[in-house]
Amino acid sequence: MQKNKSTNHVITSWLWLIVLTIASIFLTSFIDNRIIYVTSALIIVVIKGQQIVDVFMELNKAPRFWRLLLLSYIVLIPLIIAIIYLV
């Protein structure tokens, strides 16, 4: 039962990743404001990264230190990129 739940979680996560990837492409077509589309694209990166770290890498079941280490990477790098592009 638990294993099936885990498989369903992987499928849901994959669908999310596909939808978010396509959404990030459309951002540039529909949003003219650079600040908004850069911020939106990088927020999408953070959400997608969290899905990969927690669901695909199964770090949601790992010791907190390792999960936070990987999650901090996928938050910090887009944040630094956003600062470089927008400030």
Binding site: W14, T21, L69, I77
Partner: protein
């Protein structure tokens, strides 16, 4: 402390022990240090690319306009789907379905091959336009970063082949999947890096 409070303390410590034992790092610790080292190298590339873009905005805007955004999208979808099948393969291994896991890894490798084919096509079409690594600073970074990532995809495919071979010969048991988990984690790292690379080069 009375008997009931001792019993409650004892049961809560049992729960904590169970929770602690469930919290296990997938794969080998050595692989995670390797993954951290790879992420650090790519972090320098990402920041270097963003800083260079701010210093050469016109060159980078022209360079990005010459890239094929749809091929970037296809590559992203291919890598995400490949990673998805590797995650499913790990789920199958947890259910002791090693043969099914091998088939899922083969599907993952088909999607990885799509990524490689599209990337090579992209390079060749740029070469046909006379664009090389020496054209300007945008294309220097574009070729360096994407080729470096492509090397990681190729290494990841070798690792996937290795864990598929081991799974096919029942070299893993349900109590110790660390080798399989380590290989899968490496592959997900390759996907994670592309997730950042794709918007940086093709979108923003």
């Amino acid at each position: 402390m009375n008997t009931s409070s001792i019993a409650i303390a004892s049961s809560s410590s049992k729960i904590t022990d169970e929770e602690l034992s469930d919290k296990k790092l997938p794969g080998d610790l050595a692989m995670w240090f390797f993954i951290l080292a790879e992420l650090t190298v790519f972090a320098i590339f990402f920041i270097g690319f963003a800083v260079s873009e701010q210093l050469n905005t016109d060159i980078f805007a022209q360079g990005k306009a010459q890239l094929h955004q749809t091929s970037g999208l296809i590559n992203t979808l291919a890598l995400i789907t490949s990673s998805f099948f590797v995650a499913l393969a790990l789920s199958a291994m947890h259910k002791t379905q090693s043969k099914k896991a091998v088939y899922l890894i083969l599907i993952a490798k088909v999607f990885a091959s799509i990524y490689i084919s599209v990337k090579i096509w992209e390079y060749l079409s740029l070469f046909e336009q006379g664009i090389t690594i020496e054209t300007n600073s945008f294309f220097t970074l574009y070729f360096l970063i994407t080729a470096f990532h492509l090397m990681h995809v190729l290494l990841g495919m070798v690792i996937l082949s290795f864990i598929a071979h081991s799974a096919w010969h029942d070299k893993y048991n349900n109590n110790d999947l660390s080798g399989f988990e380590a290989g899968a984690s490496y592959w997900h790292m390759v996907d994670l890096l592309w997730i950042i690379l794709f918007p940086l080069i093709y979108v923003i």
